[in-house]
């Protein structure tokens, strides 16, 4: 049996997902609604034979493109997902955000994403859980901290991410020590950890943007239609909050066209996150955010 490159990537990711499930009692997966974490979600369904045996956590900045939230809830109901979202209610109420003109883009990311995520994972801010009977979100009485957090980052996305491990420890404050990371070899990962710390798990680390799209095509993974051109010559290459994410000029309206564009077409040498404004605001800004817990 000769396995292909995609088969091998899939197999390694499934192994990491299964090892996480065995090792962590309070495990969750972050779902940003983007293509990467949706591929990750489908890999989880594959690893666990159609089931997803841990909750999915989404940080809602309330500035996401509305179509993303509709898509999230539609799939959550259809696939019977244990769906949870968290938010920074105070910053939103106080209008301490970039769209309100009261924060820089990076500060806004820190408040609406990093802080909301840290407190949602720790369980000290409210979590909202989907009730599958009513289709509505309710405050979740479970406030236990998550100790294993599965995240769909890829090493090739931008500089700081290429330093990541598959299992990456975070200390009590959620900080990441990029300069002193555990060794990782022979399929053995850091699954033992001191109380109060937690581990970020990165099953997609070895995937590239092209791998993701080829897998979406091969497996029929449903992605938000914002990724495709609908006749106006524009599409999103990377999804985020609407004030800070711009569509790119592209005629690609099918999976084949997207893959062609990435492999040999106009985007073969242009960064994926070039439409993400927060990356440009200051050099090394993302690594700073990531040390503080940003995805």
């Amino acid at each position: 049996m000769q396995y292909s490159h995609l088969d091998m990537l899939e197999s390694r990711s499934i192994h990491i997902l299964r090892e996480s499930y065995s090792a962590f009692k309070n495990l969750c997966m972050l779902w940003s609604i983007g293509k990467d974490s949706t591929v990750l979600l489908c890999l989880a369904r594959k690893a666990f034979y159609g089931h997803v045996p841990f909750p999915l956590v989404h940080v809602d900045t309330h500035y996401k493109i509305p179509e993303m939230i509709e898509y999230r809830d539609r799939l959550a109901m259809a696939w019977n997902l244990d769906m949870i979202y968290g938010e920074n209610r105070e910053a939103l109420d106080q209008k301490e955000t970039f769209p309100d003109g009261r924060a820089t883009r990076i500060e806004c990311c820190r408040r609406l994403k990093t802080e909301a995520l840290t407190h949602t994972l720790a369980g000290d801010w409210p979590r909202y859980r989907l009730n599958h009977t009513t289709g509505l979100y309710e405050v979740d009485p479970n406030r236990e901290p998550f100790t294993g957090v599965i995240v769909g980052v890829r090493a090739d996305e931008e500089g700081s991410r290429s330093k990541e491990r598959y299992f990456s420890p975070r200390d009590r404050a959620g900080d990441w020590d990029a300069d002193d990371q555990p060794p990782e070899f022979w399929g053995q990962y850091k699954t033992d950890f001191a109380p109060g710390t937690h581990v970020r798990i990165h099953p997609l680390l070895d995937w590239t943007e092209v791998d993701i799209w080829e897998y979406i095509r091969r497996e029929g993974v449903p992605v938000v239609s914002l990724y495709f051109n609908h006749g106006d010559g524009k599409r999103y290459r990377s999804l985020g909050c609407w004030p800070c994410t711009k569509p790119v000029d592209s005629d690609a309206s099918t999976l084949d066209e997207i893959i062609e564009e990435l492999k040999s077409g106009k985007f073969a040498r242009v960064a994926e996150r070039s439409g993400r404004e927060q990356d440009k605001e200051d050099g090394g800004g993302l690594e700073e955010l990531r040390r503080g817990g940003y995805m």
Binding site: M1, Q2, Y3, S4, H5, L6, D7, M8, E10, S11, R12, I14, H15, R18, E19, Y21, S22, K25, C42, R45, K46, A47, F48, Y49, G50, H51, N80, A155, D156, E158, G159, S162, K163, R165, Q181, P182, P183, E184, F185, W186, G187, Q188, K190, D192, F193, A194, E214, R218, E219, G220, V221, R269, V270, A271, E272, R273, S274, D279, G283, G284
Partner: protein, 526 residues
């Protein structure tokens, strides 16, 4: 899939400043992987700043651009030949980063080890050679670099080949291919150089294409370490799926599998794989090496994480608690005999102790100490290890994936080892202080202790009674501290409790009794 070229991971290792970055830069340049005008730009910059041009600058320049949003990765570079796609992993040459070197190198299928012709074999030339061997990377090409600096002198090249081959022999490696190169001048990288007429071997690109990729047919015995047994009841799903990564061999429906250490066996009923489109044409007929797979069994037997699924009729793994191993140590605190560590070998995990350190080797100098009291960071120790529980394992030299382990000290992976010899367990009993071992107790009580979570008192009481009538010692105690629970388990009991259990009782008495009996059955077969 359309044009799916095979991929291969290559690690470039060697002593600091021996030219690893230059080799990578040259490979990228000569395979036309670089953006147009890139090299010219760097040459111009060097001319203006009065520095000699170096390919390593190219990598630095790519890194800077990357920070500004260009997609070329420097921790991992990509290039392509006619034959396949290569992913280059840059391994740090500095000793402080040995654990990063190991992390990177362990993902590689083959290695280029760079030695400076002028400076000769250095500390990390040897150390990296040794580490590559221990990590199981057998395809190594040694590049004798900067051959231009010694005037393309064959005698210098021959000297390094002789000395490094001798070194490889001492650590039991078949001599690798040696290639005289100048990454700076481009000699023997992508084409044969006229300046080394005395060398008639392959150039670097030819040698890379000669390496064998993973995923070729595997004649070795089946090994699938069990990661878990899944039973997700949601939606009426009643399959019990044994899941694990296939480390060697292959498996089909109808095969008789034996699980070790328990020795239980059953026939494979179905191979399981889930597809979103549920296309029956995609149903697998065989699982082989490298596949994260799952299967169901015709008869219900209780197996759990840590066992290894093997095929009846094929070579079986060893089962025991004691073995000898060659181990590299990365821990901040030294490895000392007698201390309790956690050992992880595939999916098995138990407590272990080092009974004896036979010798300690400095991989850089090859200096050997036979009366060492401890092994320090970066040392390689030959030692005897005793595990608290039996595990199944192979000898590393015959089946690498199931013949190795890692040691966890204070939550950190602190060492990696290759099993070199199976030792009788008697030796391991020495120094054991337990008057009655858990295994002896289990055998006497004819049950293995375990916890069962019960939903309510009625279920707990009736399950306790039913198990009692089956000859098992179960005790219903809804609320227990961890300490109390551990005491009951140490005493060998089946504990029925309200908390988290290894088994979750459903309230269906007959089903629950079967599940508990299956789970505590191990002891009967010891």
């Amino acid at each position: 899939m359309a044009d799916e070229k095979l991929h291969m991971n290559i690690v470039v290792a060697g002593h600091v400043d021996h030219g690893k970055s230059t080799v990578i830069g040259r490979l990228l340049a000569d395979t036309h992987t670089l953006p147009d005008g890139k090299i010219e730009g760097i040459r111009e910059l060097c001319r203006r700043t009065g520095k000699p041009f170096e390919y390593a600058f190219l990598l630095d320049a790519l890194k800077d651009e990357r920070a500004q949003g260009i997609t070329i990765d420097t921790a991992r570079c990509f290039f392509e030949t006619e034959k396949r796609k290569y992913i280059i992993i840059d391994a740090p040459g500095h000793i402080e980063f040995l654990k990063n070197m190991i992390t990177g190198a362990s993902r590689a299928d083959a290695a280029l080890l760079v030695i400076d012709a002028a400076e000769g074999i250095c500390e990390n030339s040897r150390r990296h050679g040794y580490m590559l061997e221990m990590l199981g990377i057998t395809q190594i090409a040694v590049l004798v670099n900067k051959i231009d600096l010694v005037g393309y002198d064959r005698a210098v090249y021959d000297g390094i080949v002789r000395d490094y081959t001798a070194f490889l022999h001492t650590i039991g490696i078949t001599p690798a291919v040696f290639i005289p190169v100048s990454a700076m001048e481009g000699d023997n990288i992508a084409s044969h150089s006229a300046r080394t007429p005395w060398y008639d071997g392959p150039d670097v690109l030819e040698e890379l294409d000669r390496f064998e990729g993973g995923g070729h047919e595997d004649k070795k015995p089946l090994r699938i370490p069990v990661e878990d047994v899944y039973k997700f009841t949601e939606g009426g799903d009643d399959r019990r799926i044994v899941a694990g990564l296939c480390e060697s061999g292959s498996l089909r429906a109808g095969d008789e599998v034996v699980f070790y250490p328990s020795g239980k066996s059953a026939r494979v009923k179905t191979l399981e794989e889930w597809f979103m489109d549920a296309d029956p044409a995609r149903r697998p007929l065989e699982f082989s090496r490298g596949k994260s797979c799952g299967f169901t069994l015709e008869t219900q037997i209780y197996v759990r994480r840590g066992e290894i699924a093997c095929k009846a009729g094929e070579e079986a793994p060893a089962v025991g608690r004691t073995f000898r191993a060659s181990m590299f140590w990365l821990g901040k605190s030294p490895l000392v005999p007698g201390k309790e560590y956690i050992i992880k070998s595939c999916t098995a995990k138990t407590v272990c102790r080092v009974a004896k350190i036979h010798s300690v080797l400095d991989a850089a100098s090859l200096g050997k100490t036979t009366d060492a009291k401890q092994a320090n960071r970066h040392d390689i120790a030959d030692c005897t290890i005793i595990c608290e529980r039996e595990i199944a394992f192979d000898i590393g030299a015959s089946l690498p994936a199931t013949g190795r382990f890692v040691i966890v000290d204070n939550y950190e992976i602190s060492g990696g080892g290759i099993i070199t010899e199976i030792l009788p367990d008697e030796e391991g009993m020495k120094g054991s202080s337990a008057a009655v071992s858990p295994a002896e107790r289990a055998k006497y009580l004819r049950q293995k202790p375990l916890t069962v979570s019960v939903p309510d008192e009625e279920t707990g009481r009736s399950l306790e009674r039913a198990l009692f009538e089956e000859g098992r010692i179960a005790y219903y105690a809804p609320r227990l501290s961890d300490e109390q629970k551990n005491a009951l388990l140490s005493a060998g009991l089946i504990v029925l409790t309200a908390g988290d259990g290894e088994i979750e009782a459903t309230g269906n008495l007959a089903e629950d009794v079967t599940a508990v009996l299956l789970a505590s059955d191990n002891a009967l077969e010891v």
